[in-house]
Amino acid sequence: MKFHLSKLLLMIFLGISMALASGFSIYEQNARATAMAGAFIAQGTDASAVFYNPAALTKLDGLHINAGTTIISTDFGFSGPEAIEANQYTPAEPGLFPPSTVYLSYKMFDQISLGFGIYSLYGLSSKWTEGLESWPGEQLSTNAKLESFFYNPTLAVKIIDNLSVAAGFSFIQSSVRLEENIYYVPRSHFVHSVLEADGSGYGLNLALMFRPFDKMNIGIHYRNNATLEYDNGDARFSFSSTGNNTVDQELRALFPAEVKGSSELELPSFLGIGIAYRFTDNLLAEFDYTQFGWSSYDKLVVEFDQPVGGETISESVKNYEDSYSMRFGLEYRFFDKMHLRAGYIWDRHAVPEAYVEPSLPDGDRHNYTIGLGYQWNTFSLDLAYQALLQDDREINNSVHGFNGEYKGLANIFAISLGYSLNSF
């Protein structure tokens, strides 16, 4: 008998979620930089240069420590699907997650500086419902979460007075959790699937900082496309009893309580170029172009160690596209020790219209940032607020049959504390 249980499972596990810069990168890794729209590649005036441009570390004398947290509060919703009711609105559960950072830099010799950073370049969280609770997009995603931690030592070298370069290495840890509901047609019954896995990988980054003349800095930062391996993850399946023993056993046989699964995720490459210009002693402006090579994420394949719904492999097409951002930041110094900062980011979507689905309601974004910094002696405190306003995104050609309109925004609050010891 020709019989395809596989079709059931094609859509299993395959969302990955909501993010900040398009795709699921998080570029907000320091309050000072965030206040300037992340336009920071050509500055690097504190230890967060480990993240933004490690070549700038050669400008910091002695020992610098910087630690901070970014609180990201998201609010998303979907109207649709059009094929049923275009105006039916489902809000996602408000999200709140706090990626945190620690940066260290130390100038060993006049020409050589070392840096180390812990940060979360990728992350996302989107939750629509809990467990088997229904919502129209439940067969696409009910809950998705991804976290990453980069442990990034770096070495910066000043080649000549106005030119520095750096190279870094990252050990990347990640965890992912993807949930959705699967409809088992032969018994008209929903099964809840949870995939949880820890993964790791290695990444490299290279950077350059150049000062063509006194008032201008140019920075370049590149990260390679690291691959995260998620091995030995858990795929768990649960369902409410159908009230019929035979059917329950059948479901259990097809959807085991727990199987092992593994997957791979190729992270995007990154390229950022920034130009900073000091108009006066008190006024600095920077413009950055940043690009994530999201086209690396063309599909997500999960392999199981035993059949699930008759299949051991589930594949979902993602077809992400490279995305880029324009970042413009200003910093104005007043009262000598205070800095007022502001900026704007235009961020282009990474997910093409046909592939947008609820786990990552991606779209073009306008971000407005503002922030304050204060320095006393060896301490610094920076605060930032970023309003992320996503253009309403109307989907008309969804390959998932989920046309409709996504709305979304996020409020981002960042705080960073710095300490420097110049004569260490």
Binding site: K2, G77, E138, T246, M338, G401
Partner: protein, 451 residues
């Protein structure tokens, strides 16, 4: 100075926190159905054969009739009084003529008696009449109030009839198709010896949904066992003539009319579910010869020959399997289980002929046609995806067809209903909410425990 700055910082922070952005959520209080729209559907009548009758899983039975697309449409238009000849469980269908049982059920997705199968080996069988002693073939209605309902049913479609029967049949014995369900639906002579068409007309319908002609082809194409069958499909010109008479009569009633065209029935899983090669009875995978090639069944002469679902039984008995392999008897598969390439061509030509006729008859009369041909084609060519679920023509798992392999399932009926609502809506200025298929999928979860 320091305090000034700290106060300033605190003030800014508070300001930012209190003015952070909030998402404006659109208000939506559900789609309403206007009085005009309710009136349009208030005296809706369905005419035709199996598909519009709500026949599913090889039978007519209340459990599935309520999910027939005509009823689903009526419910969407807030008409809760769409009367159907609801039949008690297990209903009447293809397995009832021989007295065995009614609706088909999926007993097992993978037969426990063949535990070593690699491919699942589903067990589908009729629900036995002997398990439902209260069920009376001669009075199969779910309630006396249904049997004795004093008006014609709103759903006057009759499974297993030819288009001409809509015009002439008053009772089974006075019909061409001899469908036993004629008597169940029309209830003559008590109903005044009126045909389905006459009953529809005397009811003074507000809306008539007509989908007929498919059984004029199925009666030729499928294996009907002891039931009525045709040596060739009703010829196109005859169909056109009957269809025109029906439409012209209906036009006299002032009712809004919508017509469905004919799907390519050869796409149904009924013609594709049984592999055309010898299957290893232990693993349920194709048996390979010494050169690792599958072994074709005997009796299939062309790649385009289609094997019907009931061939499964003949193959199990050894037909089509060469002697010396498993229980093969070396005999070809009986022709009655094969729709050969020429017959397939005839079926497809007839479908196209009917559809051209429907198009031209309705075109000049300004009657909207719902493109069922297109929907069934979509299902078979890549499928139709809704909210992450893809409807395909896969047997049992595809979601569109019920387990008889021919008639759409409740989910398929809902897709069909939405197509009809679209066409009726755009032609009669109505905007009826679509059947909420994701929600329906939840509603159907209770079917595992309810007969």
């Amino acid at each position: 100075m320091k305090y000034t700055i700290l106060t300033f910082l605190a003030a800014i922070t508070l300001f930012v926190l209190s003015t952070s952005c909030q998402l404006e959520e659109p208000g939506f209080s559900g789609t309403s159905v206007s009085q005009y729209e309710q009136n349009l559907f208030s005296r809706m009548v369905a005419l035709g054969d199996n598909y519009i009758a709500g026949y599913q899983n090889g039978a007519l039975v209340a459990k599935y009739q309520q999910y027939g697309f005509a009823n689903l449409m009526a419910l969407q238009a807030k008409n809760n009084n769409f009367k159907q000849p609801l039949l008690a469980y297990p209903g009447l269908g293809s397995e009832s003529l021989s007295g065995i049982g009614g609706v088909l059920e999926l007993k097992y997705i993978d037969n426990p008696e063949t535990p070593n199968t690699i491919n699942p080996d589903p067990v589908i069988r009729p629900v036995l009449f002997s398990d439902y002693p209260d069920f009376n073939i001669n009075d199969p209605f779910i309630a006396d109030s249904i049997r004795d309902y004093p008006l014609p049913y709103n759903n006057l479609a009759i499974p297993g009839i030819l288009t001409e029967d809509i015009l002439i049949a008053t009772e089974k014995i006075y019909s061409i198709s001899q469908s036993p369900l004629i008597d169940v639906v029309l209830r003559n002579p008590a109903a005044g010896n009126l045909t389905a068409l006459q009953q529809a007309m005397v009811y003074q319908p507000s809306l008539v949904t007509l989908w007929t002609g498919t059984y004029d082809i199925l009666a030729y194409a499928i294996f009907t066992g002891q039931g009525f069958s045709l040596d060739e499909p009703t010829p196109v010109d005859e169909f056109e003539q009957h269809f025109t008479s029906i439409v012209d009569s209906l036009l006299k009633t002032q009712a809004a009319i919508a017509v469905g065209n004919i799907p390519d029935v050869t796409l149904a899983p009924y013609f594709h579910a049984v592999p055309k090669v010898v299957i290893d009875t232990v693993t349920n995978t194709p048996l390979l010869d010494e050169n690792n090639n599958p072994i074709p069944l005997i009796g299939l002469d062309s790649e385009d020959d289609l094997l019907m679902f009931p061939a499964k039984q003949a193959i199990a008995e050894g037909y089509g399997i060469p002697q010396g392999i498993q229980n093969g008897n070396g005999e070809p598969i009986p022709e009655e289980f094969i729709l050969d390439a020429e017959e397939v061509t005839l079926v497809k030509q007839t479908v196209n002929g009917y559809n051209d006729a429907i198009e031209s008859v309705c075109g000049i009369r300004d009657i909207p046609v719902v493109d069922m041909y297109d929907l069934f084609n979509t299902i078979s060519n890549g499928g139709y995806t809704l909210a992450g679920f893809t409807f395909t023509d896969d047997f049992i798992t595809g979601g569109f067809y019920s387990i008889d392999g021919i008639h759409p399932s409740p989910m398929g009926q809902a897709l069909i209903a939405n197509r009809w609502l679209d066409v009726i809506g755009s032609n009669y200025q109505a905007s009826i909410p679509y059947v909420d298929i994701p929600q329906l999928m939840h509603e159907l979860e209770s079917y595992n425990t309810q007969p």
